[in-house]
Amino acid sequence: MSPKRLVPGHLWWVFATALPLAFLVCFFLWPVLSLIAVGFGIGGAATGGATPGIGGFVEVFAQERTWRVIGQTLAQAVCGTAISVVLGLPAAFVLYRLEFAGRNLLRGCATVPFVLPTVVVGVAFTALLGPGAPLGWLGLDQSFLIIVLALAFFNVTVVARTVGGFWSQLDGRTEQAARMLGASPARVFFTVTLQRLVPALASSAALVFLFCATSFGVVLVLGGRSFSNIETEIYRLTVQYLDLGSAAALSLVQFAIVAAVLVVSSRLRLRLEQANQMRFDSGQAMRVARTHLPALICFGLTALLLHALPILALVLRSLRDGTGRFTLVNYRNLFAPPADARLNGSVIDAAALSIGIALIATSIAMLLGLLVALVASRRPRSGLLRRGLHAFDGVVMLPLGVSAVTVGFGLLLTMHQPFGIGIDLRTSVVLLPIAQALVALPLVVRTLLPVLRGIDVRQRDAAAMLGASPLRVLRTIDLRVLARPLGLALGFAFATSLGEFGASAFLVRPGAQTLPVMVSQLISRQGAENYGMALAAAVLLGALTASVMLLAERWRGKVASEI
């Protein structure tokens, strides 16, 4: 677009860029940066532990524990990513290259594990592998393996969907050419297909690494005393020791890791988009044959053992009481908690509040995500503007990787009479939907943006040449195409808001608990009755998010999301 043509829509674009940026600056950058500043003793004394300033920074890194935590974070992320990729590849093949009855239903279900709340999955894994659980004899409770498996639970489907969407459009004739040159099917797969899948594999692996390295709920619930990551360590330092200096230092380490991964991931995503733009004939789905057996078995085992089994264990155990008898008492307790539970209101009250807050968070995330996606999908001619858009896209992605714990604590720190307004935002529940919207925003953008970027530029040219003004082009071309991924984006936004745990853990008020926070509190208490309620509440939370996601799945058309 030449600068001249920008003028009519100029103000609109300024607004569409400024609103999300202002939101991010107020509720994300400012809180996070001030938390770090306080940690370094700038603008307020740091409390506890390390000495403020650079000296404190050095002190933190002199500790062996810091390096152990960083090492554990990286090890968990690397192994979680590796397992996700290895198990995701056969799943991508089965779900996107084969044709069989029920395939579309299975594809739809594949969005669910990713959005299941971390506390639900954590509780489900302990229900299967924890002490006294059916598979407790495996001794996996509070082990490295159980954390990595739980991380893979979420992310196998991320790989399967990203790689599968790409794979389904690969023209099969290249493989046929290789076959005709005398290569065996296995050789064709390793020398041709796998090479062609590299852009999709690399891009999804970077994203999965990011998710694994910043996971909070899973590591908190499953890690116990022996395992932690940077995220849970920040939580421990701030909540238990009020050691903001060390927490800030760790936040910076996490920033560095996240920024590095985001840079790598955006490079890789660019390559994937370029690869996507090559015109493919949509590949032919194949009927199931004997040679597909290894992939089918691997996919089946993943779905059954990794995904279905923990959930099944969770549901079954929620239907038993402390002595092992089948009963609905755990569910009855959700409505009317036993007198000695000392709960602030019933679990059902928390569920209702959670839904209301998640609805507000979804509206915020959808509005901002829509604006961001529209802005970031422009292709201005000026190199400066293009670089600016790239940076904008990057800033919006930051909440994806920055510790939700940091965000939650930062909000708590800064929202006492913010901007000189005489209202203490911390005492109201407004901060909850804001924090949840921050977490959901990157997912909304990543769902909408590829669809917008997929619009041929000449479609907009064609509309303009028929006399459509820039705003009309936006309305009749961009927004019409956006109608397809809108359902999926809504589902992602609502499900992640509903299950958000890291930031919400800081922001809930007495009498205003969200469901995930309630589950984590119940699980940490003693007594079979509390544990039973935790299981039932986890089932309720999981069922809510899963059904929202499945509804969204039904609504959407054929869309390849990047998640």
Binding site: R5, R381, D461, A462, L466, G467, A468, T476, V481
Partner: protein, 231 residues
């Protein structure tokens, strides 16, 4: 701008119609030679001019520059003597038909054809009548309710032509409109296109690499080689 442009008097007075004066288009930030170098020519009202040349010679870029879709590095594009530099593409009153049609896949055939009329806020009755008229003209009556995705290659290009003609552009720019089609179909459609442009008195520039097609459709043929118009 519905009828007055197509039926305007075709008196060929100088300055009546399109004039391209010393137009140069460069690619941003590249040390490459200019895509279009100092091109000058005129198209009088009612005239059909063909731009021919090998692929990559800059003819499509020149066409997009006239449309306002590519910024000019130098020179000017004018209609009836009025410089169009500050007029955005959607206000130039020009139509552009793409090589691959660029139909809007999320709209029916009728909605595609009516798109330009809706942008002009033409009343519904007029829109429907004009859509019917144009579909008749391109030989696809009763295709209005079909989905664009069901059409064959030839049918798509006919719909694209109807769509570009519907708003009554004062100049129609045709960017290799037939080159994606097979030979037999191309020859038949070229004849249809020639007749249609003549019957409607449309002023047009046809970009093509097929000189036989250019001779058949156009009143005058300009040749282009590596960014320059042949003298």
């Amino acid at each position: 701008m519905s009828e007055d442009h197509t039926d305007a008097s075709r008196v060929e007075t100088p300055g009546r119609g399109l004039s391209v004066e010393g137009v140069t288009v460069t690619y941003a930030g590249a040390a490459l030679p200019a895509a279009v170098n100092d091109a000058s020519f005129e198209v009088h009202r009612g005239e059909v001019v063909a731009l021919t040349g090998p692929s990559g010679c800059g003819k499509s870029t020149l066409l997009r520059a006239i449309a306002g879709l590519e910024p000019l590095a130098a020179g000017r594009v004018a209609w009836d003597g009025e410089n169009l530099a500050s007029v955005p593409p959607h206000r130039r009153g020009f139509g552009l038909m793409f090589q691959d049609g660029q139909l809007f896949a999320h709209m029916s055939v009728a909605k595609n054809v009516a798109y330009g009329l809706s942008a002009q806020r033409a009343p519904k009755e007029l829109r429907e009548a004009r859509v019917a008229e144009l579909l008749e003209l391109v030989g696809l009556p009763d295709y209005g309710s079909r989905a664009v995705t069901e059409l064959s290659g030839g049918e798509r290009q006919r719909v694209a032509l109807a769509r570009s003609l519907a708003p009554g552009p004062r100049l129609l720019l045709l960017d290799e409109p037939l080159s994606a089609l097979d030979r037999a179909l191309r020859e038949r459609l070229a004849m249809d296109l020639a007749a249609l442009l003549r019957d409607t008195g449309t002023t047009a520039i046809l970009v093509t690499h097929d000189s036989a097609e250019a001779d058949l459709v156009a009143d005058r043929v300009l040749a282009m080689r590596s960014g320059r118009l042949a003298p």
